[in-house]
């Protein structure tokens, strides 16, 4: 592939695209970090072999099917089960025992992508014998990924690594007992999926819809600028019960946000904060 010959959108053209998305489709990516967004848009433009900016812009404005593809490709949907094994060990050993005292455990996975993290959580809850009284709300901006969460089917070639992650996170069972292998796919136990509630939700524009004891939003806000991060964090704060927990990705922090004074990081290196005010 001759990469030099490919179309490369300028910063100004990117801004035009972002304006179009708001104006025509009502999707606001204005407060997304530009470097990553620009890279992904240019990757899409190259993959789809557009010859001019005008052609790309016309297609995006006028073709709803293509707009859907755009959202699917521009939002990052890379995730895995039990990513950051120490984080899951902390959930298992320190957070779930606290949640266990509630009559009903409500958890929100904000930006759930294809659902690997939600299923990891469902497994933890089942092993802690809490799944029967739990509800896992899984939301994403991208409707296409929610269908995948509903199906609970993940690529078989990932299972070896997920199984290793599971064991490192403190799992004691045979990981393969949670799914049925079918050719290249691993179909997860329907009992795990039963407590998952799916919804399309946009952290840019939507508001709080329930109260939770635990909210997970890991490696989602890294794509937001500070202003949008602040909006999302306020939304989480509004959606957390007193003494609830907020879990972020391993390189994210609450430290510089306006809600930080209401939270205390749990006593280890993991990125989990507890609402104390």
């Amino acid at each position: 592939m001759n990469s030099e010959a490919l179309l490369d959108l300028s910063d100004g053209e990117i801004e035009i695209v972002l304006n179009d998305l708001v104006e025509v489709h009502g999707y606001d990516f204005m407060n997304y970090s530009r470097a990553s967004l620009k890279r992904r848009i240019n990757r899409l433009v190259a993959n789809d072999k557009f010859l001019s900016f005008a052609e790309f812009r016309y297609r995006l404005r006028n073709d709803d099917v293509y707009f859907k593809r755009f959202v699917e490709e521009i939002t990052v949907n890379v995730t895995e089960m039990f990513r950051d094994t120490q984080f899951y060990r902390t959930l298992r050993e320190e957070i779930l025992p606290v949640l266990a005292t509630s009559p009903l455990v409500r958890i929100w996975h904000a930006g759930c992508s294809t659902g690997e993290e939600v299923y990891s959580m469902a497994i933890l809850l089942q092993e802690a014998q809490l799944l029967h009284k739990s509800l896992l709300y899984a939301t994403d901006i991208n409707p296409a990924v929610l269908e995948k969460v509903r199906a609970g089917i993940f690529p078989m070639n990932q299972m070896k690594r997920y199984s290793e992650n599971y064991i490192l996170s403190g799992g004691k069972n045979d990981f393969s007992s949670y799914y049925i292998a079918q050719y290249n796919a691993a179909k997860f136990d329907e009992q795990l999926g039963k407590k998952i509630i799916l919804a399309n939700h946009n952290l840019v524009s939507d508001s709080s819809f329930n109260e939770f004891q635990l909210i997970l939003c890991r490696n989602v806000m890294i794509y937001f600028d500070k202003e949008l991060q602040e909006r999302a964090l306020k939304l989480f704060d509004d959606s957390l019960e007193p003494l609830g927990f907020l879990a972020l990705g391993s390189k994210e922090t609450l430290k510089f946000s306006s809600i930080s004074h209401k939270y205390r990081q749990v006593a280890n290196k993991e990125k989990i904060w507890r609402k104390i005010k």
Partner: protein, 191 residues
């Protein structure tokens, strides 16, 4: 020419020795920042940071999301994240698909740095066993960046620098005995 604002170093298998040679030459009278993109396995391993810290006057830290780029700091790409640079000179992280089977990918950071820093960027590509980095060097070159590649003959694993020297003109071939030339380039802007 003005001196460089930023050095991005990309390395894979066999590149640590050269990094350890470069670092002691960085002095705090140079107003430069460094980003180090290393292919490595686990972020929980802090020994790399300790090891590098002992060899330099600069602060060594793993990138946290939205870290501002400051002079006299060496930023290490965390395992399993791509590192990009924003216009306001902050760092952003990205967990999107691997590039060249790598995350962090050297190409991603080189390309992003080229976009923001242009002529005030120096890229250094070291020893390694895959093709990561070459595309990013081309992008840096197109934007006027200064291209340094470890001499394949002196690299522990020659494939990665070899790809670079075959595919684009290089401003400086780095080996064990011309570190002073590299430092002259850094101080004066270019060769």
């Amino acid at each position: 020419m003005a001196p460089f604002d930023i050095i991005v170093i990309g390395g894979s298998a066999g590149s640590l020795a050269m990094v350890l040679q470069i670092l002691p030459h960085l002095k705090t009278d140079m107003q430069v920042s460094v980003i180090l993109v290393f292919h490595r396995r686990s972020s929980e391993d802090t020994t790399l940071i300790e090891l590098l810290s002992h060899r330099t006057e600069f602060e060594v830290k793993e990138v946290d999301e939205k870290d501002p780029i400051r002079p006299h700091v060496i930023y290490i790409a965390p395992a399993d994240y791509h590192v990009l640079i924003e216009k306001d000179h902050t760092l952003s992280l990205d967990v999107s698909e691997k590039v060249n089977f790598c995350r962090p990918s050297i190409d991603v950071t080189f390309e992003s740095a080229a976009d923001i820093y242009g002529k005030s960027l120096m890229c250094i590509l070291l020893s390694g066993a895959n093709a990561d980095g070459v595309r990013g060097l081309k992008a840096a070159r197109d934007k006027g960046g200064f291209i340094v590649v470890q001499d394949p003959a002196s690299a522990e694993v020659s494939y990665m620098p070899q790809q670079a020297t075959e595919q684009l003109p290089v401003d400086l071939l780095l080996h064990d005995n011309n570190m002073d030339v590299l430092m002259d380039c850094l101080r004066s802007g270019r060769g």
